[in-house]
Amino acid sequence: MKPFTYQRATSPAEAAAAAAATPGARFIAGGTNLLDLMKLEIEQPAHLIDVNTLGLDRIEPTADGGLKIGALVRNTDLAADERVRRDYGVLSRALVAGASGQLRNKATTAGNLLQRTRCPYFYDTAQACNKRHPGSGCAALQGISRQLAVIGVSDHCIATHPSDMAVALRALDATVETVKPDGSTRSIAMADFHRLPGDTPHIETGLESGELITAVTLPKPLGGTHAYHKVRDRASYAFALVSVAVVVQRDGSGRVAVGGVAHKPWRVEAAEAEMPRGAKAVNARLMAEARPTPANAFKVTLVERTLGAVLSEAKG
């Protein structure tokens, strides 16, 4: 690991200003992904700003009946919150489907959104990776791509976003609240938060230099039946091949977001109009633009079958 200087943040705006003003600065919260990558020298921050001192660890009701989740709320606490379990079950389910108990105790809401891909070619510093070293190429395109993205891909990157939580937040139309180095704040819809790889796969979100996530806000509860199904190579503690988050209403309408298939949680609102007609119809619209490799073409079918299973479960 490269040496770095370290400071504890005193306020969100001050932390954002310090991050923008200090070359090579990164925020650290749970650290479960950043430190992993620093040990491999994939991440090499010259300065760490520890934001754990900022509070930001409360879950509070909002004026319009939703919930404001502080950026530092740990995955365990978010999944266990009574309001989340009752009104946003898909989020609780997605959280407990991810990582291990030890990691969920450390990992934060904001950090979960900002975690990097687990593409093996991103992790292997001997391989070409446009995300790790822009312009170097993508070894995954001709490599072992079974785990990798099938939709929204580019000739520069076929990495997936690894989060389960983010898939549920996309289905729920959450918004990400931030503070910029000049002290101004903004809200970013989950739909716009993560970017597709295009020809700049190293730029993963729309956050500006130094911009700090302070909270994630959930709109008022949708009602309906919530479910999250994750298909993976072992029964626990593995990243998704495919995951499906749904909220289904009594009349068969609802929402679908999919994980494990793209550089961001994948949701196509137009496909949701097909929900009363079943998984095959939804999948035809949802995955219409899929461009899989021969090794991961199975994921397109797997999304349909997983969605079918979730929809039958939701019907009860």
């Binding site: 490269k2 040496p3 504890r8 650290g31 479960t32 266990a80 990582a99 108990g101 030890q102 029964a235």
Partner: protein
């Protein structure tokens, strides 16, 4: 050559070159001599370059941290890169906590911090100012074992034993998590309290890998403690 250990069996070798232990001790002395304490809020000062450092590379940075480990207050100065795991093992010589993968994948380094189990390899020591850390040494001793330690012994919940301290720290926390109502991936009803059963325990222990495959005995040990204390 024979043993690379400290006592030189060949006097000429001893005169011509320092033993491995001499080199390690000299290195440690250098590190201590170059340590510069940081005042609270002061900008980190650049310590003197260490022997063997790559020219042009950033110099190591040291910082103060104060935390409680197994009930004892420890105030120390560490390289900012030091993981909590390395602080426990290398600085405090609490070698019960094991380094397995060092990447949060195996669970051998599991300790309990402020009542919660975490991977001590994936967190920096300096991030734990004021924290209370419990390691396997703090749970019990050979003469006065924690009930979970005693149950692992009784049920033979290990083979080589390397993952065992992490398994036991995790197991103690798992029982507390179920009791506190924290849901898991296998909890059937999110609005009800999770049950203290084998399915829940297995799922919650999935972050602790045992390459000897002692899982069934580990489950027996945890189940016995969970049922006894329920």
């Amino acid at each position: 050559m024979d043993s690379p250990l400290d006592t030189p069996s060949d006097p000429s070798a001893s005169d011509a070159s320092p033993s491995r232990r001499d080199v390690l001790i000299a290195g440690a002395t250098t590190a201590i001599a170059s340590a510069i304490p940081l005042g609270a809020g002061a900008a980190p000062a650049a310590p003197a370059p260490m022997a063997g450092q790559v020219p042009g590379a950033a110099a190591p940075v040291r910082a103060q941290v104060l935390l409680t480990v197994n009930g004892v207050i420890r105030e120390m100065e560490v390289d900012t890169r030091t993981s909590l795991l390395d602080l426990l093992r290398e600085s405090l010589h609490l070698t019960g906590t094991k380094k397995g993968c060092d990447h949060g994948q195996c669970g051998a380094c599991t300790v309990i911090v402020d009542g919660r189990r975490i991977n001590s390899c994936l967190t920096l020591a300096v991030m734990h100012e004021g924290a209370a850390v419990t390691t396997i040494e703090g749970l019990g001793t050979p003469d006065a074992m924690h009930p979970m330690q005693a149950a692992f012994v009784k049920h033979d919940g290990y083979q080589c034993g390397y993952c065992t301290p992490g398994q036991i720290c995790s197991a103690v926390a798992v029982v507390a998590e179920i009791r506190a109502g924290v849901p898991s991936h296998v909890t059937p009803d999110l609005t009800a309290a999770p049950l203290m059963n084998g399915e829940e325990i297995r799922e919650r222990m999935s972050g602790n890998i045992c390459r000897c495959g002692a899982y069934s005995n580990i489950l027996d040990a945890i189940t016995e403690v969970a049922e006894r204390r329920a």
